[in-house]
Symmetry: D2
Subunit: 154 residues, 4 copies
Amino acid sequence: MHAGTPLSTAPARGVINGGAHRYPLRVYYEDTDAGGIVYYANYLKFAERARTEMMHLLEAGYAEGVTSGEIAFAVRRCEVDYLAPASLNDVLEVRTTISQTRGASMNGHQTVYRGDEELVRLEVGMACLNRDGCPARIPNDLKNAIQSRTSPSS
Amino acid sequence: MHAGTPLSTAPARGVINGGAHRYPLRVYYEDTDAGGIVYYANYLKFAERARTEMMHLLEAGYAEGVTSGEIAFAVRRCEVDYLAPASLNDVLEVRTTISQTRGASMNGHQTVYRGDEELVRLEVGMACLNRDGCPARIPNDLKNAIQSRTSPSS
Amino acid sequence: MHAGTPLSTAPARGVINGGAHRYPLRVYYEDTDAGGIVYYANYLKFAERARTEMMHLLEAGYAEGVTSGEIAFAVRRCEVDYLAPASLNDVLEVRTTISQTRGASMNGHQTVYRGDEELVRLEVGMACLNRDGCPARIPNDLKNAIQSRTSPSS
Amino acid sequence: MHAGTPLSTAPARGVINGGAHRYPLRVYYEDTDAGGIVYYANYLKFAERARTEMMHLLEAGYAEGVTSGEIAFAVRRCEVDYLAPASLNDVLEVRTTISQTRGASMNGHQTVYRGDEELVRLEVGMACLNRDGCPARIPNDLKNAIQSRTSPSS
């Protein structure tokens, strides 16, 4: 093992198909609590990882808004329904669709699956902010990519 | 400094008055993110700390349900509104009221304040579970304590 | 419950006596993992909370270096020995002494206790940085406070 | 998007080659702090994720000790050197080798890279425990797999 070796693999970015982004992850010790299941706040981390990777995929080949740090989506509201618990070593998948896109905000629907089983559902309202933390328009290229690839009608 | 010295101080458990539990905390590096503010999932940690301390206070002198681990309250649903961000070193207060108590579940309303300013509001639906993770009745002593001390009408 | 009420209580800052800072905390669900005990990385959070509160206490009445954000101590190295595990609801105490202070760096010794029992020992090497992340001299007032109040010989 | 669709992708498990396990990850908001860099405790999470995936790879086709939860490796000691910080969106790689294997314990060396740059080095001492948390022998199949595939001499 020596420095200089190129990175052998890339992090899981998930895939976009059927109008949704699908992001896989495994449950590690850090995610669980003494109840033996995933701690309730950590699903919000899973959801944010999935949204980040979705943005990286959507922005590939376009002006890089989120990827470059020019803009960021801040969560203004979220509703979380916990249907069933996940456990250590489970392989989960976060499926994300953007249900509504407006000038400077959007709403997303995210579901955490284990196989076919829905474990957690999130409705997330997000505001687009510039580097100063002020509301900013969602760049057109990104908005088009969202609407054509990760919306229910796409 | 040597072992054998009794613990000098107790963790902040907050106080119950005016029908609400009030729990103070400071924002540390671990709570913040690269945006310079508290990471959105961490407010759920703050809220759970506050609920835990409230239960410890309510159970003092009664049969110890949550404190002893006989029962636990699992979050089934939460709605979170992010009104304004908190920053490193801020001193915050989580105020908790239980808006509804049923046989084996209850709803709570929690607000995170910085001084007079509301930063985050949470509506939390919780189920009472026994050691096996099955639904369990909220012990009467605890239910009475909740209704008489941490409900809007109390 | 209404806005406008002053904060009822302050977070636990711990106390300084006998040459050490003593910081109390309770173990919450967020701190534990599926093994039923505190997750190993989380002791580093506890240790950093304690160091932060120690700095706030030491700086009270002096030029506020860490408190105001002018300087920060970045951990360059830490050694952690896990002697015994902590569990949900345990009340712990982090005891911190600064074993060596140099111009722009210092070494600390931190122990996490449950009652008289040592659970985790940390040796932490820290560098003092300015707002730009460059090495900075530890302000004299702070250095004097550290040496007179939280050093083994104090 | 509908339930019933098989999981499209698997989490990144990394690869084993040249006597080391290599695990890729991206830095998300949850990993960073208000200093704009990865919070120091979170590298211990990265390291544990990498060790977990390494065990899953090593156990594939053998008796499943860690994977099935029969045994677990508890960290008894770790030394962490922070050489350079990682930032939001960085792609990192954790490289893990097991430097020494004994009957019921082992030592690992882990380095977090960004490209060719070493950011953090960890030396980790681990004890093998059974389901009751008591010391247990490392299963022979696993021990052989470790020594032949993830040791410096392999």
